[in-house]
């Protein structure tokens, strides 16, 4: 952000990252690259169930996020950008440091108010309002995003993947339009994805076979945003040794609707989707299934003072639209019905202490364990239906 003041440090870092010769050090001219980053630490406490570490018996400190983001305008029409991310989230994520994304964007058509481009590499996946910046605490509406839509359980699927996107934007009298359309090969291979798609961690490997993604965004002159996201992803299972599952296939399809209205200091947001989820060919231990998930939330944010914001959200998640309360699931499997849904009411407070420091506090009252992180709560029968959670987070940016 403050590129010129950190020029020496930046050139060194970017030089080693992108292996370019140090940029001409003309202090006053706008630089062709930018470096920005963030670091955040959370504290979590909960009743009855665990979330990101052992939050039930004490306070979990196992929610840490840090990122370093760089952009380099290599040519007038070519921009390279990427992000290195450190993340720890209890038992659900201890991969530590990773390359979040690294992409090249070629803007092959540009006029004053319209652009058309192609981005490729390990690209960020467009999904709803928040997905592309979901790990940057400042860009979220709370410490946690609504779990129905932005399930942290299967976040690896949604993050970024090798592929390419055609994108365009244009400003017209009746608003600004953006679109993205692309093909990627998403990452299904993680324990938490196994949990949410195959019910448990499995000895074999789920391999992403390709996914189609598209998003249309329309920002109206009335400060309204309307958005449609389409995703269609497939994966195939390669059984491990002494595996009870056969080589099956899974498919995930969704159309996500987004509406946001900004009124002075108030922002109202709703997102809703009914993801279709199919499994087939896994053999007798995982019968073929076709499920329609129901997920969505309503959220209000109010900037009551320039640096203070209050957030209220109601988030619903039903693992099976036709078995919302999970009775059918419980009757056929003997497992608790509350794993089939989650209704979360959240109250959050944000204080931008300085332009570089943000403090947040949040309280969740949750009915159901539908998106409860599996790796943090390995004993299925030990999970409880009703639980509360509070979170505190301090986030710094530079």
């Amino acid at each position: 952000m403050t590129a010129s003041r950190r020029l020496g440090w930046n050139s060194l870092l970017l030089g080693s990252l992108l292996a370019v010769s140090p940029v001409q050090a003309d202090e006053l001219v706008g630089p062709r690259y930018q470096i920005q980053g963030f670091a955040a630490q959370g504290l979590i406490g909960s009743t009855n169930n665990r979330f990101f570490g052992d939050s039930r018996n004490g306070v979990s400190t196992e929610f840490t996020e840090a990122g370093l983001h760089g952009t380099w305008q290599a040519l007038d029409a070519v921009r390279l950008s990427g992000q290195v991310l450190y993340r720890r989230a209890g038992e659900s994520d201890h991969d530590g440091l990773r390359v979040d994304y690294a992409q090249a964007d070629w803007q092959f058509y540009q006029t004053e108010v319209s652009q058309l481009g192609l981005k490729f590499g390990k690209v960020k996946l467009p999904y709803g309002l928040y997905n592309e910046t979901r790990d940057v605490p400042f860009t979220r509406s709370g410490i946690l995003l609504p779990q129905s839509v932005y399930v942290d359980n299967s976040r690896d699927l949604l993050l970024a993947a090798p592929g390419a996107f055609l994108h365009g934007a244009s400003v017209q009298e009746y608003g600004a339009f953006d679109f993205l359309l692309g093909w990627v090969r998403p990452n299904f291979d993680s324990p938490s994805v196994d949990y949410s798609f195959l019910g448990n961690t499995r000895p074999g490997k789920l391999e992403g076979k390709g996914a189609l993604g598209a998003r249309l965004r329309w920002d109206l002159p009335t400060d309204t945003t309307l958005m449609l996201t389409y995703a269609n992803a497939r994966a195939e299972y390669a059984p491990g040794s002494s595996d009870t599952l056969a080589a099956g296939k899974v498919q995930f399809r969704n159309i996500l609707f987004t509406v946001q209205q900004r009124l002075d200091t108030v922002t109202l947001t709703a997102e809703y989707g009914e993801p279709r989820f199919d499994t087939a060919g896994f053999g007798p231990f995982l019968p073929n299934s076709h499920r329609v998930i129901q997920s969505g939330y309503l959220q209000g944010e109010w900037r009551f003072l320039p640096a203070w914001e209050l957030m209220l959200r109601h988030d619903i998640f039903y693992r099976d639209k036709h078995d919302k309360d999970g009775h059918l699931f419980a009757a056929t499997t003997g497992l608790p019905a509350h794993s089939m849904f989650a209704r979360d009411t959240t109250l959050g407070l944000r204080w931008d202490t300085t332009p570089n420091l943000m403090l947040r506090a949040e309280f969740h009252h949750v009915d159901g364990t539908g998106w409860l992180p599996g790796p943090d709560n390995p004993i299925f029968l030990g999970r409880e239906q009703r639980w509360n959670m509070w979170l505190l987070q301090a986030a710094y940016r530079f």
Partner: protein, 141 residues
Amino acid sequence: MAQAYFFFWRLVLLTCLLSPLTASAGIIVNPDVEGHSISIASLRNIYTLRQTLWPNHQPIVVFVLPDDHPAHVTFAKEKLGLYPYRLRQTWDRMSFSGMASAPIQVKDENEMRARVRATPGAIGYTSKDMVYDGIKTLRLE
């Protein structure tokens, strides 16, 4: 006592002098930018990173003051009709996703003028609508 008295009158004087001026914050650009005026819609598109080229296809380089700088708050609210936090949200969304570069932040108005003067295609703003050497002031349509 005398000092306090002097301070009081200086404050009164400043208030009288500045209030009409701060209300007309100036849009400044590098002299190589064509034209003498800019529309509100265009200014808003530039500061929300939707317009990235000047009409002659020269890339726009956007400069801003810190989010809590009084001149930035005034500019954002009065010229763009946006709260500074909404601008920041847009910049964060566009920049962290790799879709655009965030505006370049300078520490004060002196640096703003120096950088706009030195950078081809640059746009910025100051709290006073004044004429400065080597900088072009744009009229808001």
